[in-house]
Symmetry: C2
Subunit: 348 residues, 2 copies
DNA sequence: CTGTTAGCGCGTTCAC
DNA sequence: GTGAACGCGCTAACAG
């Protein structure tokens, strides 16, 4: 399938690309026929098809995406809107989406919201200007889901987030998320099973969907066990948040809990740093299974990031291609995490 | 499916986007006038302009990107083609590019090559089908630069890579890269200054531009010092590569060098792991300054990833907007890294 | 099976 | 200053 240098040089050397019309003339046929050949219309005879393909190959014909979109109503582009999240998360999810879109000859339009109302602004633009056939909203700020969605929008899917039940206008939107509850239960079971009794969850910022889910799951999990003392401290996102809480809230090591369930790996690292400073062991778990967890032996949850992307794209295409009705109620897909138990949460 | 002339294609709960034509009628004027208003044509009277703007605002008019591209020749889209690189790298570079493109109302079309000839295939497609106004090639496989580039292509810029001097057909392509040489020299100076004499560089795969640069820089740097024993071992990319080399090549700790300059942080971690297994200290440096380096105290090089993206986009826009002639010879911009010296490379 | 005919929404000459 | 007309490259009815 690789291009032969000679035929290629000829094709591209002219400044303007070859058009369908020109192919038609060169092949001694009409535009429609060529158009049908391109789209594999079964009604075209094998002979004509082969002849036209030959001409197209020879001249390096490339259908013009814009003309096609204008006339056909399908853009061949999928939008991805994401907030300014951690690079590991972002990259892997995009990779997953790309895997699916590339497979169906689509292209990815990526936008990153840089704060404030940016997400909402970009959402409006992308969902209304007809530039994309569908839109994946990665980690949208929760307040966006509170707004009313205009009818007549393109297919939408929430990634790493789920539509709240009370959001009426978002009812046709699919959601793909990870099973925060199950993973959190596993963590708590593991900690309790190992013998820890006093647990603290350093929860994430309330603006993040997963943070809320994990907090609820933590509270739910600890309540299933008698004799467990549990507490939650909010708003932890980066390393410093973890260290600071340890310093300020637990300045006296004797008041420390047995185990700390951090919102993510960064926070867990912060806790560990302070722990070393003080020189007392406390069990710690992280979340994200980043590169630091393995080398440091931090128990952590690995999320199926690429899977999130792939599944989101799949949902989108199901609606774009009409395999799922546009007005069908949104489905929520939940992907499983895997818990990696390491030394940081075993017995001291 | 009922297809009225104006309920065209789009997934529709009835609400088809309002067109320039409709705005013209509602404003009691013609398409051309509205078009001029949109593009701030100075010949339009203030009165008409205001009137038309009001109508547009009232009806939420959005210019159709595809129609505009078809008629006007500018797509408003920038392509980003990247190989399947590490997520940290990928995400930050994209973020940088996005920063610039968003500022100029452009959109980002991202494609990820998934191996083999994928990069070349995608490159051909994106550079020829007119879907983007310019193309950023992030970390292209080196053999791509060996191929002849067709004339008449869109503006191109290499990111995290530089055009080889002998590539005639790529002479109009800009390059943005980091100063591998300077950073490597800093590392070597630091190691030698600290007292290490026998250095080994665990180089990266030869297919990666930066890997070759760093290897050359290493060899250059060590030659500037008398009494230094240096060696290079090739083809290290992930953790296991580092550990394996230590196990196989340096099974006897007494033959160990004083210091190991790893291609990246992962390799450095592999070395450290083996070091701990054997229980002997050797100085180690990484590259990328990933999350694991700070917590583990690994000396590492921080690259200006976002800067790479921003600068690449800037170069592209300079050519797209004609601030730099299309046929002007490509410039190479080199961005500075910063070396973070930590305990892993200090005296044992 | 294939050719003909309309547009898709907009930029850009031209005239007025 | 403004409007009418044409065309960008392609798809999708209609005819044969």
């Amino acid at each position: 399938m690789t291009n032969t240098p000679d035929s290629h040089g000829r094709a591209g050397s002219g400044k303007s690309p070859v058009t369908l019309q020109q192919i038609a003339e060169l092949a001694g046929t009409s535009k429609s026929t060529v158009s049908r050949v391109v789209s594999n219309d079964p009604r075209i005879s094998r002979a004509t098809s082969d002849r036209v393909w030959a001409v197209m190959k020879k001249h390096g014909y490339r259908p013009n995406v814009f003309a096609r979109a204008l006339a056909g109503g399908k853009t061949g582009q999928i939008g991805v809107l994401t907030s300014n999240i951690s690079s590991g998360f972002f990259a892997e999810v995009i990779r997953g989406i790309d895997l699916q879109t590339a497979a169906s000859q689509n292209h990815l339009l990526v936008s990153i919201a840089h704060g404030g109302d940016d997400y909402a602004r970009l959402f409006n633009e992308l969902s209304l200007n007809g530039q994309v056939d569908g839109l994946v909203l990665v980690d949208p700020p929760l307040d966006l889901l509170g707004r009313d969605l205009e009818s007549g929008h393109i297919p939408l899917v929430l990634c790493a987030c789920a539509v709240p039940l009370e959001a009426e206008s978002w009812r046709c939107v699919d959601s793909v998320t990870v099973d925060n509850q199950r993973a959190m239960h596993e963590i708590v079971e593991h900690l309790v099973g190992t013998g820890y009794r006093r647990l603290v969850h350093l929860a994430g910022p309330s603006s993040i969907y997963d943070a809320g889910q994990r907090k609820l799951a933590f509270l739910d999990a600890v309540q299933r066990h008698a004799g467990i003392v549990a507490d939650v401290i909010e708003n932890h996102l980066i390393r410093d948040d973890g260290s600071r809480t340890m310093r300020e809230r637990y300045s006296d090591p004797d008041t420390w809990p047995d185990a700390i369930v951090a919102f993510n790996d960064s926070v867990a690292c912060g806790v560990l740093a302070d722990m070393h400073r003080v020189g007392r062991f406390v069990a710690v778990t992280g979340w994200d299974n980043g590169p630091e967890t393995e080398v440091l032996g931090i128990t952590s949850v690995e999320m199926p990031l690429t899977g999130l992307g792939e599944e989101s794209a799949r949902c989108l295409f199901d609606r774009i291609h009409g395999k799922v009705e546009q007005k069908a109620m949104g489905r929520t897909t939940m992907l499983e995490n895997s818990l990696h138990i390491r030394s940081s949460s075993l017995k001291a």
